[in-house]
């Protein structure tokens, strides 16, 4: 991946607090990987290569959330090195599942549970990259969709707007001609407030959507919350539904906090 070609745009992949799944998506693009590697210079991608070229880079893909002081500093340098900065996945765009700490007292928690708490360095909050530096595009998903990633890289290189819809999972369900599991079977489903991208996977597998792609463009969480109550969900169950992989995205955060107040 250490091509010295000057004409090829360079891509770098950076990891913060995350599971590695979103950057793995690139390696999971089995049919496209060698093509991508031919079109761009993969300059920095430690999960895949020992060769680590120094910046600046044309495109930076950032996975993971900011959870340590060191990472809060590091993202500043990453931003400086990347002409276009794209965040990939729920950790980078919303703080990820580890943002559930944001409702707890992490300091007390560490004091209570660690044999040697001074070894541990962590921030109180897990926050998305855009809370720290300007981000050029946020690609949602837990994990991201590989075709959306390829579309995004292609669009960025071509200088056009990527075709990544911000409508809800419901649209994908309708397009697949799924029978609505919320209406027909009374299954609580976050589909109406969740951004499309997965291809309405969960409803297609007979379960309710659990919100991997975060809030859609204009989510009516209040309406969905009352619908969940009609389906017999308790306040804490509704709160938990919003408090998943995109819990810190403000619309979901607001919805879960309103349930807790009730």
């Amino acid at each position: 991946m250490n091509s010295k070609s000057k004409c090829k745009p360079s891509i770098a992949v950076f990891k913060f607090a995350s599971c590695d799944g979103c950057q793995l998506t690139l390696l999971d693009a089995e049919d496209e990987l060698l093509g991508i590697a031919g079109a761009v210079d993969i300059a920095y991608f430690p999960e895949a290569t020992r060769a680590m070229a120094k910046g600046p880079y044309d495109i930076g893909l950032v996975e993971g959330s900011i959870t340590t002081y060191h990472d809060a500093q590091r993202i500043q340098e990453v931003r400086r090195q990347c002409k276009t900065l794209i965040t990939i996945g729920a950790c980078a765009t919303a703080g990820g599942i580890q943002a559930l700490r944001n409702w707890k007292d992490v300091d007390e928690f560490i004091r209570v549970v660690y044999a040697t708490p001074q070894f541990i360095s962590t921030l109180k909050l897990s926050t998305p990259i855009a809370e720290h530096v300007p981000v050029d595009f946020e690609l949602r998903g837990c994990p991201i969709n590989k075709y959306q990633l390829i579309e995004l890289i292609t669009a960025t290189l071509a200088g056009r707007k990527p075709n990544v819809p911000s409508y809800s999972v419901c649209i994908e369900c309708k397009r697949k001609a799924n029978v609505c599991i919320a209406v027909a079977r009374g299954v609580p489903c976050l589909g109406p407030v969740t951004q499309a991208g997965c291809g309405a996977l969960c409803p297609s597998y007979d379960r309710g959507c659990y919100g991997c792609y975060g809030p859609m463009e204009t989510p009516n969480t209040a309406s969905l919350t009352s619908q969940f109550r009609i389906l017999g969900q308790t306040e804490s169950q509704v709160a938990r539904a919003f408090r998943g992989f995109n819990a810190w995205a403000w619309q979901f955060r607001k919805a879960s906090e309103e349930c807790e107040r009730t």
Partner: protein, 436 residues
Amino acid sequence: MTRRGARTIRVDTLARVEGEGSLYIKLVGERVADVKLKIYEPPRFFEAFLRGRHFSEAPDITSRICGICPIAYQMSAAHAIERALGIRIDPAVRLLRRLFYCGEWIESHTLHVYMLHAPDFLGYQDAIAMARDHRAVVEKALRLKKIGNRIVQLLGGREIHPISAAVGGFYKTPTKQQLHGLVDDLEWALEASLETVRWTAGLQFPNFEHDYEFVALRHPDEYPFNEGRLVSNRGLDIDAAEFEDHFVELHVKHSNALHSVVRGRGSYLVGPLARFNLNFDKLPEAARKAALDAGLQPPVKNIFRSIVVRAVELVFACAEALRAIHEYQPPAAPGVEAPNRIGVGQAITEAPRGILYHRYALDENGLIVTAKIVPPTSQNQKRIEDDLREYAAQLVAWPIEEATWKCEQAVRSYDPCISCATHFLKLVVEREGVKD
């Protein structure tokens, strides 16, 4: 080479591993003075936020510990919780879960063998550079990996963080016909795996052996995935419920992952080498023959040869997937009911990298009171350091760059998954009233 001053082998960012770690080895003369595999991947506190969540969410939440082996987390979580609830799964579901795991092993092992590990043996920085000279090999690898991913995708909807695994079974199970659509690909994959064994057997291996304590599951009838007793070559033979009586974790300053040791004995090894050495007799004929032809006679004690053992496990996974597909009859229901109940349950399953232990205590509403997770890489972490201490001593006379690469290769032999290892920095405070 100098015998005078101190030299260091330093790798600030370990490449071709999952997650963030670094390596530090200090050599003084011909002595290895210090070895640290530093894991600086930030802690994510999974066990903490699992508390108060409903058990039905545990497979989805814990899969986010690792994007490379999400199924391992889903399987350990589901089996531990099923044990806590005292429910039994349908035999057809059991078979499907084996098939699901085959998919993960195929994609994960192929990724590691060809894209993360092989470049070390052939002197490339990565698989893309390797593809320039060995295009057909890399294309075959990508096809093989894709077939593993196809199994996962069919059963679970997507390759990474699949959505169909549930406590009690699956949300939805496939038809016989859907599974039969995989057969042609898997027959090709079986052949490709046999070629992979031959290909990896032809690589050059450093002369480095150690008398490890191998720890793996062992089942009376089959090569292990989700069931069996935990055994070792030093006489360990326990149920998953006894795991914490025999293994302890140490909190060391230089790592955001706890070091796991066998009580009273020290470091041990989990993963393909351990499984192979302890379960050779349970491998299908084709895999046993391929192994013996490749010169692998258990016990294999050279960690660098784990690349060949992974290839043998690829043969097993393809053969086992075909068997599962042929035997499959769809269950009457995708899953059994999982009613709320107070209880504690433990499970160990075989992730691609080795045993993954989960324990959950549940309250009367099905909410998680405590959770504990011990992933394979934290178990191997101390073993990796111990190996490097011995191995680096062989390299003191080498130029530092080559020695560094060799040490990296040794680390990669374990296929470490650092994202997994650090999720679990959090120790669990036991509440009174919930006994283990």
